[in-house]
Subunit: 150 residues, 2 copies
């Protein structure tokens, strides 16, 4: 009986660990990964921000390169918000899991806007680029306000 | 004279700071960025490794998704190895700057092999995928051996 119970516990632990972090061996790997994805996203988003705010001249080619990287990165972090990744070296708020549908909706809006931003950057019209940049930035802010702690 | 000297110092500092980290405000931002890019790269490369080593079944679609992310990420970290980013929270060896042509060559080999890996993953032949995976992994190892400290 004791042996069966131990086997069951071991199996449960495996299942929990799997659903906890999907493709990550440990929750801390998932946290490190998603933070890294946001760091890369932020760097390239910031370069477009400098253009959108007129601090550097708008350049369609450079804006497109950065927008394409952001659009690729925008797909990545969400799989790393599995169960068990709510504690540790993270500012993730518990609302990510308690209001998961809203979190998912936000992440999808960001991905959709980042694709529009690629198109606007490629189009070469500064006003359209600024407008698309601001729409994308809005999705970042909404999600940070609701789901990222201090 | 003192005023001219101060202006010159301020200008020099600006120039150094600019060449130091190109598109990064501070050297530590560049270091954080390149480490983040490698973290994301490693996660997706690792998922292909599990297939290449037979720990999970080869799946062309999943391999292609991961290979495409790696090929995108492979372009990113190099701009963040500017002057002034050799110290701090980094394992970067001084050889990156003293043997910069070799470092650059390694980084270009990695980018080239990662593109071949996308093609092999998409092609759907497991043996070709494994071979391309190993060739890409070889470029990682060479560079880590020569340019990454403990």
């Amino acid at each position: 009986m004791k042996k069966i119970m131990l086997s069951w516990l071991a199996l449960s632990a495996t299942v929990v660990s799997f659903s906890a972090s999907a493709q990550f061996a440990k929750p801390e790997d998932a946290i490190k990964y998603r933070k890294a994805a946001f760091t890369v996203t932020g760097a390239h988003f910031g370069r477009m921000g400098a253009m959108a705010q007129g601090r550097v001249p708008f350049d369609s080619k450079i804006a497109t390169e950065n927008a394409e990287i952001v659009a690729t990165m925008a797909k990545l972090p969400w799989a790393a918000f599995g169960e068990g990744t709510d504690t540790g070296d993270t500012r993730a708020k518990s609302e990510i899991w308690s209001q998961n549908a809203k979190f998912k909706e936000n992440s999808e809006k960001f991905q959709a806007e980042s694709l529009k931003l690629v198109a606007a950057a490629r189009g070469g019209r500064e006003d359209a680029f600024k407008s698309a940049f601001n729409a994308t930035a809005g999705t970042c802010k909404t999600c940070h306000d609701d789901f990222r702690g201090k």
